[in-house]
Structure formats: structure tokens, C-alpha cells
């Protein structure tokens, strides 16, 4: 892996902010002292193991727990008949064991609680559940009679939008492409499976939860268990990834709290890997129709992006895959829309760059097809279509450096030497190709609070103590926030102590939407500035009014991803040879952790392009791939040469820290860059992912 230029530059400077500071918790993690949710074991802790519905749709008619309760060490079997009654949460997927309804295979119908993990698991296997089964449907088609236009898609975006007259522009365009791209469901599969330990101490609930945000967890538990938020402490000190699947509470914390309440014991619930696909969310499948009308010079007259997707019958979640087409390219007529059908499937949710990862795959492959059709270089095509203002809203961009990313990436990748003809390069048995795609992700920010306290200045320890309920899900958040504080206070990094990951700390939003550092950092920055300016000893701030006072700009990060692939001429096995990303994401606050975010996202994009895939069984319902032997995330051998760079971007219209968010943009664009490279290598377009040998093998 090459060392990034930016890293080299920053090592020679004095600035704390931007420097490649080491992760503060790195030592604790590699020595095993960092404790994750499942590693908190209060005295007298019992273990819960959920029982999943074995039918795809229907209701529970009876639960026979006699065999389970006869096992030594059995404590309780909770079902909809005896579990604690819960208040209704905003997210109905958490309203567990309250009714006999089974909305999909894998929905939890009971919780076994035993003295040990082994007992709880054996109990769960011994619980006999009978069902009244009803017909089910898990098959998404683009002509499903249940499809409807949702008012909103995920993120609060309007479901359908039109600017200009798409139909007229498309009809009149000299070059018209009508293309359909299909994506299967995907799963987040963070390294640390979801887990929670719950303890009731008097009327106070303490929950150790693997979560991307302890504040939303405590708020949800307060609603469900009828408590004041002050009666709840949620701890998420170390979290082994989430990729969106821990963005809001998930079943383990609810089950653990219920089990603990029912048994008057601390209860720990650790989901085995196999349970994750059914209950923590997935990236919904999409069928995306792209209609592009182009003029001879490559400028777009019409852009249509219509998305068909599924949700569950439990709640509406609409993957906003058409939304990036409201941002990326100027066209006189733009139509974007979503249709969704509620099927008897597990509930989809956030997975790294929801909407953008899926939508930009289709849009950026379609742009490649336009370039091929017009015999234009795909970079030149994109440069000719970069809009002056955000096409959908008409707002000015706060900053826009897609062109710089494309040009800088082309220079680093050696794009000018590329022969555009597909299917013409060989290295022995391997067909070779290169591809490019643009990347984008919106700049999101949410109000946060934070506090900073000046400590004794006798040199015996840190001089300042920052407190904020940020969550470090492995990204380096606590390190970057300490850098922001040190920079603002004008002190070395080790003069700052920082506490994150507990709802007892000042309230803060979750680590999601690439908004964490911007949101928490804004509050930390403000608190430290006020402390410095006031000379006081402690300051607590709230950025609500600051966030609300932001000017009207379209704020987005952009990037360009370049891929070189080989496709085996005999087997159709596609492997990436080189992957390069160049991003414009505002100010980069820590060169080391930023680089990890970019290449991590790109690796996940590689998985989306080439290896990752989940299937719904149409007869049984539910997902088939349940472990990491069957759900193929990329291995090291799949990622031989990956590199990320960024351009200096100074955007005065962001939060005072100046970053745009970097957690998600790395995945966006990568699948299309790889898919376009596969076309360049083989001369064939597949218009679906992953590009596994079943698609690519020559027949």
C-alpha cells in the first residue's frame, strides 16, 4: 500500500488537526483490554438466546417451553404471552414478543434465558413453537401489483421528483439509452455481531450495547420501558463496526432488557452471526431503470432514474437509490422516482451509503454506456455534464471538486494511456480492463452537545477533559475529536482527555450518515473555543441553533474511483488489480484514520461489485446466506493494491471544523468503476452485481 502524499506532508507540520494521530484506543484494542458490549459480565449474569420464527408469514398459535424449562439451568422462556409489555417504539421492528404475529421468517417469537450461554442455546433449540401459517411473498419484480409510490424515501427525500420536461427532452434527444440494472440484497456484517447486556439496578436500567449511538438507544428504551431517560444508562464504549446496522437500536438490547426485567437478573444477548441477516437490516434489492437522452456533444438532455425496491410489512424503508441523480449531472429534464412493495421479508435498513451506493452504481454504469455509445472518453463525458447548481434544488454548491478528483485520479492512474476499445487486452489467460466512476455523498450534520473542563494545570495529567456521547465504531472518532479540542485549545494532543460512548455524557447524535465528526466536532469545537475565550473552568454547549442557522447551500462530497480488473478468459473469475480513489471531502482531520475510512469503503464497494450477495428463498422465505463462508466479503487476497488520495478542499459553508464526512463516500462509485472495467476487459455488460463466474463465464 502506497503512503499517501497528504500523510507525508502532514507529518512534517506542527498542526494537530490533520495529522495522522494514532488511535487513542489502539493499545487497549490490540491488548484485549478494550471491552465490547458482550464483554461486560455483571455478577450473576444470565444469558438469553432468541428463538426465530421458522415460517415465512403467519402467527404463533402456541409455544411449548416444557422441554426447554426442564433443562438444568433454565431460567425462563419469554413469549408474547408472558414477556413484559412494552411501550410502542418509533421503530416497530423493536416491538418484540408483544403479539403472535410473524411478519417474516427469522422474526423473534421467544427468548430463552438460562444460566449459561450453552444452556440458553440448548433451551432455544428445545422450544416448540406452533404456527398458523399464511401465504407469503418475498419476490420483488418490477411489475409487482403491490408496488406504490412512497411519499418519502429514506433520509426524508421526496419519493418522486421532476425538473423540466423529462418525456419531451428524452423523446427529442438524438441518442437515447434505456437500461435496467439489478442489485440483490446485501448485508452489513460488521466484524462484531450485535450484542447487549442489560442490568436493572433498582429502577435504573444499564445497558451495554453494540450500537452506533447510545443516545438514540436510551431514548428508545425510555419509551418502551416507560422510564425517564435519566433512569437509563447506555454504554457503547467500543464498537466493532456497524455500517448502519447499529444506527438505531436493534433487537438484542430490547431482548436483554426484557429478559433482565423478567428474571430479575442481568441478561446478556449475543446474536450469533447467523441471526444477523434476519433482524438487523439489509440493503434492499433494487431494480433501477435509467433512461438517458444525450446530445452529440455528450451533454445530457434527459435523465430518468426510476427505482423499484422492497420493504417489509413491519415498516416502510425505501432505499433512496434515485436521489444521487438529483445531484450529479445537469440535464434539461430530470425524472427520479421510487416504487416500493411491502413483502414478507426482513426489514431493510441502512447499509453504508444507503441510496448512493446503489443508485450511483446504476447511474455511473449508465454514464459509461453513454460514453461508449457516443465514442467519448468517460471522464470527458462527466466533465461536460457537471452542473453549475444542484439540478434538483437549484441551490448553489457549497463547494464542488468532482472535476479535480477526476483529473487528479486520471493523472495518478495513468488514464491517458488507456485504449478505449473493449475486450482487446490480454495477459496470458486474463482479459484486462480499466474503468472509472464518480462518487458522491451528501454532507449531513445534526445538533450535538458537548462539554469541556479545565483540569489542574500541575502537569500531572491531561489539562482538559472533553465529554461527548459520540460513538467510536472503529473509525477513530475519539482520536479526531481530541485533535479538534487540542487544536482549538492550543495544546498538545495528550493534554486532552476525552470520554465518549455513554448516554450519561452530553447528548449527541449517532455515528451515521458520515455526520458524526461534523456533528460532534462542531460541539467540541464550540465548547473549546468558548472555554478558551471565557477563561472559565467548564463549558457545556449545544449546537442546535448553529446547525439551524446554516445558509442554503447544496453540500456534497465528491470523488472519483478508478479500477483495473482481470477477467479469467476460461472461468470468468474477476479480480481487481488496482483500485484508486481520489476524494474531495472538505478538510481532512486525521490523515491516518481518513485513509482507513476511504480504503475501507472502497473495499466494501469491491465486495458489492464482485463477491457480496444475499438471496431470499421464495418458498421458505428468509435469507439463505447466514455465515461468512456463504456471504462473501472480500478477503485480503481480493484486495491486492488499493490507494486513496484526497485533494485539499476549503469549503467556507460547512461546520467550523471544515470536514464533509468520509465514512461512506469510499463505497460509492467503486462498484460502477469495477463494473465498467469488467466491460472494458470482456466487452460484455451484465447490468447486475456481483460479477461472479455464473455471470461472466464464457459459454
Amino acid at each position: 500500500m502506497a503512503v499517501d502524499d497528504t500523510t507525508r506532508t502532514d507529518r512534517t507540520t506542527e498542526r494537530v488537526l490533520g495529522s495522522p494521530a494514532l488511535r487513542r484506543e489502539g493499545r487497549a484494542k490490540v491488548t484485549g483490554t478494550a471491552r465490547y458490549a458482550a464483554e461486560h459480565t455483571p455478577p450473576d449474569c444470565a444469558y438469553g438466546w432468541p428463538v426465530a420464527a421458522a415460517v415465512p408469514h403467519g402467527s404463533v398459535t402456541g409455544v411449548d417451553a416444557a422441554d426447554a424449562m426442564a433443562l438444568p439451568g433454565a431460567l425462563a422462556v419469554l413469549t408474547h404471552e408472558n414477556a413484559p409489555r412494552l411501550g410502542e417504539p418509533d421503530d416497530p421492528t423493536l416491538h418484540l414478543l408483544q403479539t403472535p404475529r410473524v411478519p417474516h421468517r427469522g422474526w423473534y417469537v421467544a427468548l430463552a434465558v438460562g444460566e449459561t450461554l450453552q444452556t440458553a442455546r440448548e433451551m432455544a433449540q428445545a422450544v416448540r413453537v406452533s404456527y398458523d401459517e399464511e401465504p407469503h411473498d418475498v419476490r420483488l419484480t418490477d411489475d409487482h401489483p403491490g408496488l406504490y409510490h412512497p411519499e418519502q424515501a429514506n433520509g426524508g427525500y421526496p419519493g418522486d421528483r421532476e425538473t423540466g420536461d423529462f418525456d419531451a427532452e428524452y423523446a427529442a434527444a438524438p441518442h437515447r439509452l434505456d437500461l435496467t440494472y439489478t442489485l440483490s440484497p446485501l448485508h452489513n456484517h460488521p466484524m462484531e455481531p450485535h450484542a447487549a447486556t442489560a442490568v436493572w439496578e433498582g429502577g435504573h436500567l444499564i445497558a451495554y450495547d453494540s450500537s452506533q449511538g447510545a443516545t438514540p438507544v436510551s431514548e428508545t428504551l425510555a419509551t418502551m420501558f416507560g422510564l425517564d431517560p435519566k433512569q437509563i444508562t447506555v454504554v457503547a464504549e467500543h464498537v466493532g463496526g456497524g455500517f448502519g446496522s447499529k444506527g438505531t437500536p436493534r433487537p438484542p438490547v430490547v431482548l436483554a432488557a426484557m429478559g433482565a426485567k423478567h428474571t430479575s437478573r442481568p441478561v446478556k444477548v449475543m446474536l450469533p452471526r447467523r441471526e444477523l441477516p434476519s433482524v438487523v437490516g439489509h440493503r434492499a434489492p433494487t431494480i433501477q431503470r435509467l433512461r438517458i437522452g444525450a446530445r452529440d456533444d455528450g451533454t445530457l438532455a434527459a435523465l430518468g432514474h426510476e427505482v423499484t425496491t422492497h420493504t417489509s410489512t413491519v415498516k416502510e424503508f425505501v432505499e433512496q437509490a434515485a436521489v444521487p441523480s438529483r445531484v450529479m449531472y445537469g440535464a434539461d429534464g430530470i425524472r427520479t422516482g421510487h416504487r416500493v412493495v411491502a413483502l414478507d421479508v426482513p426489514t431493510p435498513s441502512w447499509m453504508r451509503a444507503p441510496g448512493d451506493a446503489s443508485g450511483m452504481y446504476a447511474l455511473e454504469c449508465a454514464m459509461d454506456e453513454v460514453a461508449t455509445a457516443l465514442d467519448l472518453d468517460p471522464i470527458e463525458l462527466r466533465l461536460r455534464n457537471i452542473p453549475e447548481r444542484e439540478p434538483d434544488s437549484g441551490k448553489p454548491f457549497s463547494s464542488h471538486h468532482l472535476a479535480d478528483c477526476l483529473r487528479e485520479g486520471a493523472r495518478r492512474f495513468g488514464w491517458e494511456r488507456r485504449d478505449p476499445r473493449p475486450g482487446t487486452r490480454r495477459d496470458g489467460d486474463l482479459l484486462l480492463g480499466t474503468g472509472v466512476a464518480a462518487s458522491t455523498y451528501p454532507v449531513l450534520v445534526a445538533p450535538s452537545t458537548a462539554s469541556v473542563q479545565a483540569l489542574r494545570a500541575d502537569g500531572s495529567g491531561p489539562a482538559y477533559h472533553v465529554r461527548v456521547n459520540a460513538t467510536d465504531i472503529g473509525t477513530g472518532a475519539r482520536t479526531v475529536l481530541a485533535q479538534i479540542a487540542a487544536d482549538q485549545l492550543g495544546v498538545p494532543l495528550d493534554a486532552v482527555r476525552i470520554d465518549v460512548g455513554s448516554s450519561d455524557l452530553p447528548t449527541a447524535p449517532l455515528a451515521g450518515g458520515s455526520s458524526g465528526t461534523a456533528s460532534w466536532g462542531w460541539a467540541v469545537h464550540k465548547a473549546c473555543r468558548e472555554l478558551r475565550e471565557s477563561g472559565g473552568s467548564i463549558v457545556t454547549v449545544d449546537t442546535t441553533t448553529d446547525v439551524q442557522a446554516q445558509e442554503e447551500y447544496a453540500r456534497h462530497a465528491f470523488g472519483a474511483v478508478f479500477a483495473e480488473v482481470s477477467a479469467d478468459a476460461f472461468t470468468g473469475e474477476v479480480r481487481v488489480r488496482r483500485l484508486l480513489g481520489v476524494f474531495a471531502a472538505g478538510r481532512i482531520l486525521n490523515a491516518r484514520t481518513a485513509r482507513s475510512q476511504f480504503i475501507g469503503g472502497m473495499t466494501m464497494g469491491l465486495g458489492m461489485a464482485l463477491t457480496e450477495h444475499s438471496s431470499l428463498d421464495t418458498r421458505l422465505g428468509g435469507f439463505v446466506e447466514k455465515d461468512l463462508a456463504g456471504y462473501h466479503v472480500p478477503t485480503h487476497a481480493d484486495v491486492p493494491d488499493i490507494d486513496a488520495h484526497w485533494i485539499e478542499e476549503h469549503d467556507p459553508h460547512l461546520n467550523p471544523v471544515g470536514g464533509k464526512g468520509i465514512g461512506e463516500i469510499g463505497i460509492v462509485g467503486t462498484p460502477a468503476a469495477i463494473a465498467n472495467a469488467v466491460h472494458h476487459a470482456t466487452g460484455r455488460r451484465h447490468r447486475q452485481l456481483p460479477l461472479t463466474p455464473d455471470l461472466v463465464v464464457p459459454r
Binding site: V624, T635, P698
Partner: protein, 335 residues
């Protein structure tokens, strides 16, 4: 997990008699598959007999010029053994293409042969599976069957055998040595695994209580070249979509003197391609011959709804493998 009793075998013979004395016993070696299945509740032995400490760790030359491999030899050690790398390259390649480094360090030769299918329905207690529960039905046949068999499957089971090593052993005409309560016997590796027929619960011809003690490789045919090629979804740690092991020896005029070809990932057992081999022997070693032979072998394939790609994939793997072997220059003597 169901509670079970455990004992450590003191000798191969004691292990066999201990098995006979206990209902629902299982031999435990590396544990890389059995323990996973016990956690899932797919395997529910009442008694485990740990055979991993038995002195079956040697790789020894046979008087005939072959190699005798103890059942407890770890996959990593077998793959790295000098004589295996030199004389049985397809076996070394097959071993190294399987699982991960960590798993290969634990997994044994005997255990590799006895690993169960990775069919996801077999592993899911809530899905009907004839292999797990005879008579329950097969979920894979009409389910998600992209990774399932295209050859030799039955209405009762469409699972594949996951081993890479076993495919190479089949092509090398290896033999599996068994100790049993009713005496010792030897079974050709190519016939050790079964087709599912109407009893898919039986993966192999092993009789109750029999223990694998060794695998014996005959001397490689004179002048033979051999290799293993595996097509898979990712570069490492993925089961074969289709694989092939080939052992090929040519006469001076370019005709095939010896040909052994076995497919993996396409059937309930390593699929020894006897039809193709018969066509090859005595024929000219060129790509057209290889293609004709592979097509003839795969003419009996019966793809399911999602796995028709496995037929051209297996064909291409075999043709490419044989062509590459035919074009490989002879190794200088003594190297």
C-alpha cells in the same frame, strides 16, 4: 449444544472399540467442521472420541514408490511436504486452495474426507433437509441452488461435497485405509464418497464405527504432469463453484498415455470423469480433443434452476487445465 461425553482414544484399535460401545458416538479430529455443526444442532453426538492425538501423523514412502499419509496429518503439513509438492502437485494445490491458513493448520486428512456439505439448508434446522432428517424433503432442489450439484444428484438431495483435497486424491487413484469393528479394508478414494440416491444421509461408504487410518497414494504414472484448478467466487476462502484435478502423461508423439480427471463442486462426491478419460487415452493431446472429452463427460449433467453455469464452467476449467498440462515442457529428469 446438547451435552455429550468425551474420551481421548489411546490407540486406533481402542478408538474403534470405544465407538462400538457407545450409541451416537462421533470421532473428533481437527473439529473444524464437526464442532460448528454441533453448535448449530445439526450434529448431536452423545459421545465424542478424540482421535486427534493418535499416532497417525506420518507421511511415509511406500515400497511401491507411493506415499502413505496418516489420517491425522494436518492439511497444512501435507500441502508443504516435499514429496507431495514434488510428486503430487495437484494434491498440494488442492489443499492450499481450500479453507484458510488457520483452518488448514487444524484440519486433518481423515477429517477433510469426512467433512459435511456446506449446503445452507443442511445447516439450517428450520429448513427441511433429507440429509439431516431423511424423509423431510430437499429445500435446495427448488430453492437457492446456484452452488448445488449438476451431476449425479437425486430427487432427494442436490448437495455437493466441499472438499478440494478429495478431488485430487480421486484423480491420483489414492486409496483410503479403514479400521473397523469387522476388520480392516481399503476403499479407492474415487469410490469413498457416494452419490445421494435415496439415502443422502450417507455421504460415504464408511460403515458404522469405521475409522480412517491412512490415505495411500500410488506412485505417480511415469512422466505424468498434474495440476488442480478451482474456480470460485473470491480469491481465497470460498468453496469451489467448479474445480478439476488432472493427471496427464503423454507419449513422445503427443498422444495421451495416461489421463485421470476429477471434478469438484459439481456433485455429491468428487466426480471422476471416466467417460472423458476413455476418450482421451490414445487420442491426440490437443484442445479440441480435450473439449470433446469434457463435453462428453458433462453431457449427463442435469443443471437446476440457478446453476446451469456450472456446466460450461467445469468444461472450461477442465479444458484449460488439460491444455496447460499438455503444453507444459517435460520436467528434466532428477529435478
Amino acid at each position: 449444544m446438547k451435552p455429550f461425553t468425551f474420551e481421548r482414544a489411546t490407540s486406533p484399535e481402542q478408538a474403534v472399540s470405544a465407538f462400538a460401545a457407545q450409541p451416537h458416538a462421533r470421532f473428533l479430529a481437527g473439529g473444524t467442521n464437526l464442532v460448528d455443526l454441533m453448535k448449530l444442532g445439526v450434529e448431536t453426538p452423545a459421545h465424542l472420541i478424540d482421535v486427534s492425538k493418535l499416532p497417525l501423523n506420518d507421511i511415509e514412502p511406500t515400497p511401491e514408490g507411493g506415499l502413505r499419509v496418516g489420517a491425522n496429518v494436518r492439511n497444512s503439513d501435507l500441502a508443504a511436504h516435499t514429496a507431495v509438492c514434488r510428486d503430487y502437485p495437484a494434491l498440494a494445490q488442492a489443499l492450499l486452495s481450500g479453507a484458510s491458513g488457520q483452518l488448514r493448520n487444524l484440519a486433518t486428512t481423515g477429517g477433510n474426507l469426512l467433512q459435511r456439505t456446506r449446503c445452507p439448508y443442511f445447516q439450517d434446522l428450520t429448513a427441511p433437509c433429507n440429509k439431516r432428517e431423511p424423509g423431510a424433503g430437499c429445500s435446495a432442489r427448488e430453492g437457492v441452488n446456484r452452488d448445488m450439484a449438476v451431476l449425479g444428484h437425486s430427487e432427494h438431495c442436490v448437495a455437493t461435497h466441499p472438499s478440494d483435497m478429495a478431488v485430487a486424491l480421486a484423480a491420483y487413484d489414492a486409496e483410503v485405509e479403514l479400521l473397523g469393528p469387522e476388520g480392516d479394508r481399503t476403499v479407492p478414494a474415487a469410490d469413498f464418497h457416494r452419490l445421494p440416491g435415496d439415502s443422502p444421509e450417507r455421504d460415504t461408504v464408511l460403515r458404522p464405527g469405521e475409522l480412517i487410518s491412512h490415505v495411500t497414494l500410488p506412485p505417480p504414472p511415469p512422466g505424468a504432469r498434474a495440476a488442480y484448478r478451482k474456480a470460485r467466487d473470491r480469491a481465497s476462502y470460498a468453496f469451489a463453484l467448479a474445480s478439476a484435478a488432472a493427471v496427464l502423461a503423454l507419449d513422445g508423439d503427443g498422444t495421451v498415455r495416461h489421463a485421470a480427471l476429477a471434478f469438484g463442486g459439481v456433485a455429491h462426491r468428487p466426480w471422476r470423469a471416466r467417460t472423458a478419460e476413455e476418450m482421451l487415452i490414445g487420442s491426440r493431446a490437443d484442445a479440441e480433443t480435450f473439449a470433446r472429452a469434457a463435453d462428453a463427460e458433462l453431457a449427463v449433467a442435469r443443471p437446476l434452476s440457478d446453476n446451469a453455469f456450472k456446466v460450461p464452467l467445469a468444461r472450461n476449467v477442465a479444458v484449460h487445465l488439460l491444455t496447460t498440462l499438455a503444453e507444459t515442457p517435460d520436467r528434466p529428469a532428477g529435478s
